[in-house]
């Protein structure tokens, strides 16, 4: 019987790691300032005497690459988890409004929290709280018994997203944050304002969330068959679902705190990988993390280099790709296949 073998597992992930290394290298070399391979090698090995190159590599490009990798991996991993738990291939933290809830929490903390003396450190917890409240809202509105109505879920997400964006603009304008692009950064995510202090949190929550999802990957497979089937097969559905929802909320909260609203990564990546690798979460989860990292890094590198001297926010870039992709999925599989039956 054909199944996931050690060889297929390690070969697939190995190839993806290689692609990731290659893409990171290309990203290190890309940018408005001309730095060549020798410069970068010199800087990385520590014997470069070119202060400009040292600065560009260590202070600008490398942090941004790391941020792109972590945010991309976090978003794609939480996308896979949401899709499995909600049994809906269209579930994505952005489409469900979970990212929007996180951004709303973050912006509220940034503006209102300041008057209570909270600094930037309170933003990720607020974003995490926003995620959890949104998930609670989704269950409250679209939940039926222990399941959730897929079309109700998507509708609630879409409506909540619009509400969250409006609320963000409202709060921001009250707080006088409308000047410049500060509020814009939250609505259309981008990686240009790298907060180095968020990176360790981002990495920590990614390891935690990805670790949970990989350890429970077999359970995730079974949960996609439905709650009753999963329980019948000995999976502790409630416990695993709670753990995984918390883990993905932490990942989304951290990603949004670091980069604002970047959409569709969690939708596009798992879907493409399911086509390439199949739906087995033991492979799909780590592969999505790697591919999400790769995807966001490539998008961001293109977004910051394609226009000479100006940067596109990478969130606009992923949404430009993701919007049509979402419609294509809806059209191709038909609303019935996507909305399915109730879980």
């Amino acid at each position: 019987m054909k199944t996931l073998s050690v060889l297929r597992f390690s070969l697939t992930l190995g190839i993806m790691v290689l692609m990731l290394v290659l893409a990171s290298w290309m990203a290190l070399l890309s940018g408005p300032s001309e730095i060549d391979t020798t410069d970068v090698l010199g800087v990385l090995s520590g014997d470069s005497a070119n202060p400009a190159a040292i600065d560009i590599v260590w202070a600008i490009r490398l942090p941004r690459i790391v941020l792109a990798l972590l945010v991309g991996a976090s978003l794609a991993t939480s996308g896979v988890i949401f899709q499995a738990l909600l049994r809906n291939p269209l579930a994505d933290p952005y489409i469900l409004g979970v990212s929007g809830g996180a951004a709303l929490g973050a912006v509220a903390m940034l503006t209102l929290g300041a008057s209570f003396g909270f600094g930037y450190g309170a933003v990720p917890p607020a974003a995490f709280g926003g995620c959890l409240l949104t998930i609670g809202l989704l269950y409250l509105v679209a939940g039926r018994g222990s399941g959730i109505l897929p079309n109700g879920l998507l509708l609630t997400g879409v409506v909540f997203n619009a509400f969250a964006s409006a609320a963000i603009v409202f709060i921001a304008s009250l707080a006088g944050m409308m000047q410049g692009s500060r509020v814009f950064l939250w609505l259309i995510g981008n990686l240009s304002a790298v907060r180095v202090d968020v990176v360790p949190w981002l990495a920590f929550f990614l390891v935690l969330g990805l670790g949970c999802a990989m350890v429970l990957a077999r359970g995730l497979n079974v949960i996609t068959l439905g709650e009753e089937a999963a329980r019948q097969l000995g999976v502790a559905v409630e416990r695993q679902r709670l753990l995984l929802l918390l883990a993905s909320s932490l990942m989304v909260g951290a990603a949004v705190s670091a980069a604002g609203l970047i959409g569709f990564v969690g939708l596009i990546i798992p879907h493409l990988l399911r086509l390439l690798l199949g739906p087995d979460h033991r492979l799909l989860v780590p592969a999505s993390a790697l591919a999400g990292a790769l995807f966001l890094l490539v998008c961001d590198t293109v977004a910051r280099t394609v226009l000479d001297g100006r940067e596109l926010p990478v969130g606009a870039f992923t949404a430009l790709l993701g919007g049509p992709f979402f419609l294509y999925l809806l059209k191709r599989s038909g609303p019935a296949a996507v909305l399915g039956e109730r879980t």
């Binding site: 291939p89 077999r218 996609t224 089937a229 199949g278």
Partner: protein, 271 residues
């Protein structure tokens, strides 16, 4: 049917089980026992509570009263994984939102035996492929579950249940989508399972086959047990007419077992 005390030590027993769904009392004080080595058929019209009997065991519905015991111990005390190694159920159908292959679905039956992250052991693969061969669907192994017919999907679900290596098998209309040949084959597999020491409960609308495969029959009507016993005792017009709400005639088939013939063209028969 009288049983030895040794046999009754290992049984799946319903004791006064009631289940309420919304306003409706779907099961009302249902008591019966399923022993090892026997196939029990569960009969009754749509909405009589047959599926709920199966779901009560697998945790799909909460009990409003009574208790279900497996080997004298309440189900809840068995633990999820331990229960899944002992009891397997086959639902009527299943919606799978992702493109798993039939082989992957069957292999999920090994879940209660497997640890957390890891690869499937050769033993797991062996159990799964034997179950598929037994049901004659080894050729479907690499096919996507969403591209199979209803009957093929049903066979996959039965193979998954066998892959759980259970002692008890609960099948909810396992043959509803199957042609006659596959119906017979599935019921033979179920009978072999019981002969090998397992206990099987089969929900069925096929009165002809139920009388031939089941050692005992249980007739449900409006959530209550109407009749219970060997096919020859239960398949009598007075029980069946009450259970199904239409006049029937029961004759003895050439094999000596009852054949139920509905009388057509009467009010309530739908013709």
């Amino acid at each position: 049917m009288s049983r030895e005390p040794v046999e009754s030590a290992s049984e799946l027993r319903f004791e006064g089980v009631s289940v309420q769904l919304g306003e409706q009392l779907v099961l009302d004080d249902v008591s019966f026992a399923l022993a090892r080595g026997e196939v029990v058929g569960l009969l009754g019209r749509n909405g009589a509570g047959k599926t709920t009997v199966v779901r009560a065991v697998t945790g799909g519905v909460d009990l409003a009263g009574g208790e279900i015991r497996l080997d004298q111990k309440p189900l809840a005390e068995h633990g999820e994984r331990s229960l899944a190694r002992q009891v397997a159920s086959v639902p009527q159908d299943m919606h799978v939102p992702f493109p798993f292959t039939a082989g992957e679905i069957v292999l999920m039956g090994r879940s209660p035996y497997q640890g957390l992250f890891g690869f499937d052991s050769p033993a797991d693969l062996d159990v799964a492929s034997r179950a598929m061969s037994q049901l004659g669907i080894a050729h479907l192994m690499g096919r996507r579950i969403d591209q199979l017919s209803g009957g093929e999907r049903q066979l996959v679900l039965i193979a998954r249940a066998l892959t759980q290596s259970p002692d008890w098998l609960l099948l909810d209309e396992p043959t509803a989508f199957l042609d006659l040949q596959h119906r017979i084959h599935v019921l033979e597999v179920v009978r072999d399972f019981a002969r090998a020491g397992g206990g099987a409960l089969v929900v069925s609308h096929d009165l002809v086959l139920a009388a031939r495969v089941c050692d005992r029959l249980l007739v449900l009507s409006e959530g209550r047990v109407l009749a219970e016993g060997p096919p020859k005792e239960v398949m009598k017009p007075q029980w069946l007419e009450q259970a199904f709400g239409l006049p029937v005639q029961v004759v003895e088939g050439p094999d000596g077992l009852p054949l139920v013939i509905p009388r057509m063209g009467v009010p309530g028969s739908g013709s």
